[in-house]
């Protein structure tokens, strides 16, 4: 695999990325190839339209939110390190090798990512309106408004412990404590 090492030179900070995210060299290469594929006009960075070209993502009910999650606050483009960092959130955690601290850390990181999908205004809380928007996009046109309202109401009732009519991150985490997040939020192709 001599060619791979030369290709790795094209990737800036590859070593650092591998350290940070835990991806293997092969993965970084694969992701870089994918990145280049998505980057149609070869700018070295991705824009929302590049993501939007993926049909599956365009038809995804929360596709725009997922795309938005790649872009950090205020930035209009995604460079390769950020791309990889976002994807690193979805690496499956090996339960044998990570001790307790590491495992819960990765779980928290995954949950934070999911939380950010809801919390578009980044105020640290999922308000009722934000929840409603997500519900609306997921349920599409199949329910009436009052159904949506009652569902959102119920969800907030269940999770909201400090009665501020919004779901904070801690409450979010608590409401999902029975769900095996590590399993659900990993794509084992990113192992």
């Amino acid at each position: 695999m001599g060619s791979s090492s030369s290709r790795m030179d094209h990737i800036p900070n590859a070593e650092q990325l591998m350290q940070e995210t835990g991806f293997s060299a092969a993965h970084i290469l694969r992701l870089y190839a994918r990145f280049e594929f998505l980057d149609k006009d070869e700018r070295g960075e991705l824009r929302p339209e590049d993501f939007g070209a993926l049909r599956g993502l365009a038809m995804n009910p929360i596709g725009d939110r997922i795309i938005g999650a790649f872009f950090s606050r205020g930035k209009e483009t995604v460079d390769f390190p950020s791309f990889v960092r976002v994807l690193a959130n979805f690496r499956p955690t090996e339960t044998n090798t990570i001790r307790d601290g590491g495992q819960s850390f990765s779980r928290t990181r995954k949950l934070k990512f999911a939380f950010k999908l809801y919390d578009q205004d980044r105020d640290g809380k999922i308000s009722r309106e934000e929840l409603l928007q997500v519900l609306r996009s997921m349920l599409e046109q199949q329910v009436t408004e009052e159904q949506l309202q009652s569902i959102a109401e119920r969800a907030i009732q269940e999770a909201d412990l400090d009665q501020d009519d919004a779901i904070s991150f801690e409450e979010f985490k608590k409401s999902l404590e029975r769900v095996n997040i590590d399993e659900k939020m990993s794509s084992h192709f990113l192992r």
Binding site: N60, I66, A114, Q142, V143, E145, S150, F172, R178, H188
Partner: protein, 711 residues
């Protein structure tokens, strides 16, 4: 309760009276039937009658006329009464049923001094097995099944092959060693025996596992394997049987045999698919004859089974595929009552079937056909256990590398130990062509079945507790969990799209889109497609609240945060979520229990809504729009009015009448179509305006098209 157990000898006493039984092959022919009222003629049927010399009979008993149905009913009655008895917790139900069967068999034998009726293979395969498999397939948790499909196939196909070859060859070795007594058992015979004894039986597995609450993944692995290995078993059995008839076996034959496995399995699958889709289509037109709608479900499933049996394909696979395919469409098309009927009937039939099978197993044990041989029987038992354990260990070691959720050692133990043999082996062994050692095979099979059901069945539960298998998490999901889980599913699908690999989510989403675009449109009745669950819940909520306002339909008061949600309401919310969030699996307890339906069915006492509610919805939306100016500020909707007012308050813009593409004024808002029942509003975050704008426009357009379909 003990009294019920004494009823069984009474019933068996009734049963020994007739001289033949419909279920026994090669029984004495039925005596000639007589007219029930034989005026003036002394009947020569031998049935006891009052000894009146005169022509006219006032009272006569003509048993032979009703003999066949009478006995069948008596057997079923015995089975059903046996179910009423309360069983001690440590003994699984299957064991008790076999014991009842043994008792009845013993009584019959003792009274008649001849063999009691046996379970004929035909009756078993044609009448007793299909209801059980249909029930299992209908209530299969689809999503879980498909997620684990690779592993299940791995265990089913490869595991069974490993077991068959292993047991067959080892037994041949044993026969060679004990040449004196077992010398005339050839290799092919051993392989044939191996093929029928190696297969895990779904009936036995189900009946034992449902009493243990293991986690769903484990359950689906064992259960799925027992269902799918039927294809392999059927093929190998028939293969070896035909080899036995051939003068010689060549390599080509073996290769052809391998191809047959594929053909049998896939053939069964396609037959099932075909009939499933046909059934779904038929159910679309049953609106005028609601009462017979359930019948179609049963008829089509049974047809698929019979067709594949006729073509020598795997009947079990066909019927399972049929059930899985047609379930969602039938449930959408057919009224609530019909749905409940379907479910109840399935449960009932499968329950009775299962009971009958186990009782007959017990009865058939008491026979004259036994031949005992210590080395053969003991080595068979041992080899079954050893080969299964080794097979599971090896296969799991390989499959764990590819699975996300590894199968732990404890799970492996349960899979290996829970591989029980049942009535399928029993029937297959009877079908073997006669040869000198056939009776030995029969005896060994019975011993193996009894051993697995009794010993393994009784000890598996304590062993599970000992090993502390990860228990299935009890309790239903909360609404939050469902929403968030679904969000994460979508998220993963999106991420995998970005990464470009086809994970499981990819196929699931693809299928769901295909399903929604083509299948659902085609197979589900038009007016049922979008509104069923909405309006049903709508009506339910309406009934719940009984608020004074007549125009605006009453909804849950947003202020009442502390009001505990009624269980029915909770159920209705769950129903919406589980339907509309396109979940495959049943959110309720996995309904493998023979005796209870999942709660879903019992909640549906509400009939399908009428168009009246649609108009209510329209009026409601109008009213909401009129008042939205007032409630701009109350984002939280604490003004005590219905919810959608708060939603409408988010769009201070006046409602536009046409649903054309929104002008590119920033920030663009969605539009409300007054003809529809739901209003869609898309809030576009300032970051991405361009791509989502087109998406929302597309959505609006498609939404308009959808709403125009409404009558």
């Amino acid at each position: 309760m003990a009294a019920l157990w004494t009823l069984s000898p009474l019933l068996s006493a009734c049963l020994f009276w007739p001289t033949c039984l419909a279920l026994t092959p090669g029984a004495e022919p039925l005596q000639p039937q007589n007219l029930p009222l034989s005026l003036g003629f002394n009947s020569s049927d031998g049935s006891p009658s009052l000894d009146l010399p005169m022509a006219l009979r006032v009272f006569s008993v003509d048993y032979h006329h009703v003999q066949a149905p009478f006995e069948i009913v008596l057997w079923i009655m015995l089975a059903s009464l046996a179910k009423l008895g309360r069983v001690p917790a440590v003994v699984p139900e299957s064991c008790l049923l076999i014991m009842v069967g043994l008792l009845v068999g013993g009584v019959i034998y003792g009274v008649r001094h001849s063999a009691p009726p046996t379970l004929s293979a035909e009756a078993f395969f044609l009448f007793l097995l299909p209801p059980i498999v249909l029930d299992a397939g209908y209530f299969l948790p689809g999503r879980l099944f498909f997620e684990n499909l690779g592993t299940i196939l791995w265990y089913a196909v490869l595991g069974t092959l490993w077991n068959v070859l292993g047991i067959g060859l080892s037994l041949y070795g044993v026969c060679l060693l004990a040449h004196s007594s077992l010398g005339d058992v050839s290799l092919l015979h051993c392989l044939l025996f191996g093929s029928l004894i190696a297969a895990v039986d779904p009936v036995a597995v189900l009946s034992v596992f449902q009493e243990m609450h293991v986690n769903e993944q484990l359950h689906i692995l064992v259960f799925g394997e027992s269902l799918l290995n039927d294809a392999v078993t059927v093929v190998l059995y028939k293969l070896f049987e035909s080899f036995l008839r051939l003068p010689s076996v060549s390599g080509v034959d073996v290769f052809l045999g391998g191809c047959r496995v594929l053909v049998v399995g896939l053939g069964g699958l396609f037959v099932g698919l075909f009939f499933g889709l046909l059934a779904a289509l038929t159910s679309r037109f049953t609106s005028r004859a609601q009462v017979i709608a359930p019948l179609f479900v049963f008829l089509y499933s049974y047809l698929s089974y019979l067709t594949s049996e006729m073509l020598h394909l795997s009947g079990i696979m066909a019927i399972v595929t049929c059930a899985v395919t047609m379930k969602q469409y039938v449930e959408a098309n057919v009224s609530e009552r019909s749905n409940t009927s379907i479910q109840y009937f399935l449960k009932m039939w499968s329950s009775v079937s299962e009971t009958l099978i186990f009782i007959f197993l017990g009865v058939s044990t008491i026979q004259d056909v036994h031949m005992w041989s210590w080395p053969f029987v003991c080595s068979t038992l041992l080899l079954c256990l050893v080969w299964r354990a080794s097979g599971v260990l090896l296969l799991t070691a390989v499959v764990n590398k590819l699975r996300r959720n590894t199968v732990t050692f404890r799970d492996q133990f349960i899979i290996a130990y829970g591989g029980m043999r049942g009535a399928i082996c029993f029937s297959l062994v009877f079908l073997i062509d006669d040869f000198p050692k056939k009776r030995l095979f029969i005896t060994t099979t019975i011993v193996v079945i009894l051993f697995t059901v009794f010993v393994q069945g009784m000890t598996i539960k304590p062993l599970v507790e000992l090993l502390d298998v990860k228990r299935k998490k009890r309790g239903l999901h909360t609404v939050s969990e469902e929403i968030h889980s679904r969000l994460i599913d979508h998220l993963l699908a999106g991420i995998e799209d970005v990464v470009g690999y086809w994970g499981q989510h990819y196929w699931k989403d693809k299928f769901e889109q295909f399903n929604k675009k083509y299948l659902r449109r085609f197979l589900i009745r038009d007016d049922h497609q979008a509104h069923s669950s909405i309006l049903r819940v709508y009506q339910e909520l309406e009934r719940r609240e009984q608020r004074g306002d007549e125009e605006a339909p009453p909804v849950v008061d947003p202020r009442s945060n502390s009001r505990p949600l009624l269980p029915e309401e909770m159920e209705s919310i769950r129903r919406i979520l589980s339907r509309n969030l396109q979940h495959f699996n049943n959110m309720q307890r996995p309904a493998y229990s023979r005796h209870t339906l999942h709660q879903d069915a019992t909640m549906d006492r509400v009939r399908k809504p009428l168009h009246r509610h649609q108009s209510l919805g329209e009026r409601y939306t109008y009213k909401a729009q009129g008042e939205d100016g007032e409630f701009k500020s109350s984002r939280r909707g604490r003004a005590g009015l219905s919810r959608s007012h708060t939603v409408c308050s988010m769009s201070p813009r006046p409602v536009l009448q046409d649903a054309s593409v929104p002008a590119a004024s920033a920030p663009a808002r969605g539009q409300v179509d007054p003809n529809s029942e739901a209003s869609i509003e898309e809030q576009i975050s300032p970051q991405q305006q361009e791509a989502p704008l087109e998406r929302s426009a597309r959505k609006q357009l498609s939404f308009v098209l959808e709403s125009e379909k409404q009558p």
